[in-house]
């Protein structure tokens, strides 16, 4: 064995907490979602549109493949010397007047953030869209502490007002259409006009007037970060609406929560990622708002800046030579948009805040798998391995190969991925498949069923799982190897 079984042995590394695991296993959760015709229409429409647009945006660059290689190389390098880069980042941020905090898991991060907000005396914070804070359940935690967190990203606001959970990492309300959004605004948004229509412009205007007031009164903002440059201590947030920019510039105190894998060695690395990210995520050449800040600038922007570096399972992922590529993710969501499974079942079926192909490799690695009944144990199997995600990924994460590796890890750890009897079937198949004659005899058994010339519509379990949805063709009277042997006998030639 070349690799230690990092997922079952406790190496004393921080374990993830927060919204990284659902209650149901994927096949069951997916089957539930599949019955929601509205959801499937919303998803098919949204993912179909963004797919076409992304292909167009990517085709404009003739060095796209080189950019992907560069992105992958920079991330591989950063992961290889993560501790060093994080210490450098701490030093550069501190030198520019920021304060760096280290959080082993979501619980610790939530506590640190709560204390920081308390210290300002505020009981309301505005938020920039951030996956890290979704991951640790910050809003829910703050609520129990009596602090109101207001999401300012339009889609994130829809999710928050609808008492819902995000189903996409970039477009968290992708599962909603505009009529549903209008209804949510009408019932849950303070000050929303009673006769609000469902035109996108009307909806955006209603959100705008609601948010404007929050921006102007908020004293504290909480954000995530897309990137951090270790050499300069610069943080970066990219967004489309400008609401993030409001949060990053207006309040006095800014608290940024960032997964430790977001650090880049150098400011100039942004050149690569600021090309890769917008084209892959929103299919834009450049995202409308790119905010960069370095520490604190007297008289301009927040006067207090805190950076919370979040582990929450990431060092555990890092310890896996193959699986660690999941940490290269820049959360563009291209893999979700092109995934035929995601397109049909949506984000909620994955349980975690990270859905789709990246979620299927990231969530189980962040949490570790507790056993075969762990809902996250089903995620590596939530894929046909069609490879569309790998093709789309701007940092070339080979998601299909990692999925297969995670399956191998699970089998080695003694978890059984399929219904009972599989072990026996796999062992028998392997036994037959290591000997041409044994294999030939086994498949010739099919002749017993080959009297039936019409194929099969119903077969007993476990073949019934197949014939529930598909017919099976009639079995041939003779296998190919039998036919070939006959021919060799007839012609007298051998090979």
């Amino acid at each position: 064995m070349t690799r230690p079984m990092t997922r079952t042995v406790d190496l004393g590394m921080p374990t993830a907490t927060g919204f990284l695991r659902g209650e149901q296993k994927f096949p069951a959760a997916a089957a539930d979602r599949l019955t929601d015709a509205q959801l499937r229409r919303n998803l098919a429409h949204a993912t179909g549109t963004i797919r076409t647009k992304r292909l167009r945006a990517v085709a404009e660059l003739d060095d796209w493949e080189e950019l992907r290689l560069a992105g992958s190389a920079i991330k591989t390098d950063a992961m290889a010397r993560l501790p060093e880069l994080l210490e450098q980042l701490e030093a550069t941020v501190t030198a520019r007047g920021g304060v760096v905090h280290w959080a082993r898991d979501g619980v610790e991060a939530n506590r640190i953030i709560t204390d920081l907000i308390r210290a300002t005396g505020a009981d309301e914070v505005v938020k920039v869209k951030s996956m890290a804070t979704q991951e640790i359940g910050l809003n829910e935690h703050l609520e129990t502490e009596g602090i109101r967190a207001i999401e300012t990203d339009l889609a994130e606001l829809i999710v928050q007002l609808g008492n819902d959970r995000p189903s996409h990492i970039l477009v968290p309300a992708i599962h909603r259409n505009r009529t549903e959004i209008r209804d949510i605004f009408r019932t849950a948004m303070p000050g929303a006009p009673a006769d609000l229509g469902d035109e996108p412009r009307e909806l955006a205007m209603a959100a705008r007037s609601y948010l404007r007031e929050r921006f102007l009164t908020a004293r504290v903002a909480v954000s995530g970060a897309n990137f951090a440059a270790a050499d300069t201590g610069t943080l970066a947030v990219v967004e489309s609406e400008g609401n993030g920019r409001m949060c990053l510039t207006l309040p006095r105190t800014l608290i940024t929560v960032m997964g430790i894998e977001k650090v880049l060695p150098s400011f100039t690395d942004l050149e690569v990622f600021l090309q890769l990210l917008p084209r892959s995520s929103t299919a834009e050449r450049m995202n409308p708002y790119t905010s960069l800040w370095t520490g604190v600038t007297p008289g301009d922007g927040p006067q207090e800046f805190h950076l919370v570096l979040l582990d929450n399972g990431r060092t555990r992922v890092l310890a896996d030579e193959v699986g660690r590529a999941a940490l290269h993710c820049i959360r563009c969501s291209a893999c979700l948009n092109v995934c035929p499974v995601y397109e049909r079942v949506g984000g909620h079926a994955y349980g975690s805040v990270y859905p789709g192909p990246i979620g299927a490799i990231l969530s189980p690695q962040l949490t570790g798998i507790t056993g075969p009944d762990d809902p996250n144990a089903s995620l590596p199997y939530a894929s046909t391995l069609c490879g569309a995600c790998f093709d789309a990924c701007p940092v070339r994460i080979d998601i299909p190969s990692i999925l297969v590796e995670l399956r191998a890890d699970a089998v080695e750890a003694g978890h059984r991925p399929l219904p009972g009897g599989q072990d026996v079937a796999m062992a028998a198949a392997a036994w037959a498949m290591t000997d041409g004659r044994r294999w030939g005899r086994l498949i010739a058994l099919g002749r017993l069923l080959s009297w039936r010339r019409t194929g099969f519509r119903r077969l007993p379990w476990p073949a019934s799982i197949w014939t529930r949805h598909r017919d099976l063709p009639p079995l041939p009277a003779r296998t190919f190897r039998q036919q070939w042997r006959d021919r060799l006998r007839r012609t007298g030639s051998g090979s």
Partner: protein, 270 residues
């Protein structure tokens, strides 16, 4: 050329006509087809399900069998994108996981001379017009592993376009997965059948009489759906269409006869 045919376990057991067509085609093009008797399976099912320790001996068996065949053959061909994908992208990786560097090296060598059918024809043998005749409307599903793992591109379509009298109709959403995915079809049967439904709808919308592909496994899945829904559309492997000639035409597969006694609605046969 002497070409070793890796029939694939599925064609050997369930679709002998596909293996036969592969041989016919090679011989018609003036090559000698060799079928190593000891061959079994590439091990893909074990590997993709996570049973790597069980898959390792299957991989080793495949490598040994075709390494021996390559002593007297110039290349190995398989009528399956996913099996060649496994040979090329998984065999050495599995060997490496178990620290068997020697096997990894041998696997890489065998993989380097193993081709999917359209690759062999177009890249190695340098032909696109194989002298085939097939006078029926056909739509072609390119399959995920051929497209994205092997990057065969438009080779199969170029081969089909050169077939005399064929009416080749473009499949809408051709590059999206049909939902087979090996054990995915069983483990995530609901999602798999949702994907199948969309693929069947796309195939039906073309008005083709035959849905073709370069992989019997995907065709078993799509064909199973086409048959269940009584679309009257049959499936044929790319090899079967390319092997078809005016003298020896490949018959269009007959739709299944309707059930005699217990008619059941699609998907309701529980």
């Amino acid at each position: 050329m002497r070409i070793a045919v890796f029939t694939t376990c599925l064609a050997d057991a369930l679709y002998p006509a596909v293996a036969r067509a592969t041989v016919t085609l090679l011989e018609r093009l003036g090559h000698q087809a060799v079928v190593p008797a000891d061959q079994t399976c590439c091990g893909q099912m074990h590997l993709n399900t996570g049973y790597w320790a069980r898959g390792l001996p299957v991989v080793r068996h495949h490598v040994e069998t075709f390494e021996a065949a390559l002593d007297s053959c110039d290349a190995v061909v398989a009528p399956s994108g996913s099996c060649v994908g496994s040979v090329r992208h998984q065999h050495a990786m599995v060997a490496a996981r178990y620290d068997d560097d020697a096997l990894a090296e041998r696997a890489t060598a065998v993989a380097g001379r193993t081709y999917e059918l359209s690759e062999l024809l177009v890249d190695v043998l340098g032909v696109t017009d194989v002298g085939a005749w097939f006078g029926h409307p056909v739509t072609y599903y390119p399959t995920c592993h051929s497209l994205r793992m092997l990057r065969v591109g438009d080779k199969p379509v170029r081969l089909l376009r050169a077939v005399q009298d064929i009416d080749l109709i473009e499949l809408p959403g051709a590059d999206s997965c049909c939902g087979f995915g090996g054990t995915f079809a069983l483990k995530n049967e609901a999602t798999s059948s949702a994907m199948l439904t969309d693929k069947v709808a796309a195939v039906t919308s073309t008005g083709a009489q035959v849905c073709s592909a370069g992989d019997s496994s995907c065709l078993m899945h799509i064909g199973g759906g086409l048959s269940r829904l009584r679309t009257g559309i049959g499936t044929l492997h790319l090899a079967q269409i390319l092997a078809s000639t005016r003298e020896h035409p490949c018959p269009v597969p007959e739709p299944r006869r309707p059930a005699r006694r217990r008619p059941s609605l699609p998907g309701a046969a529980r």
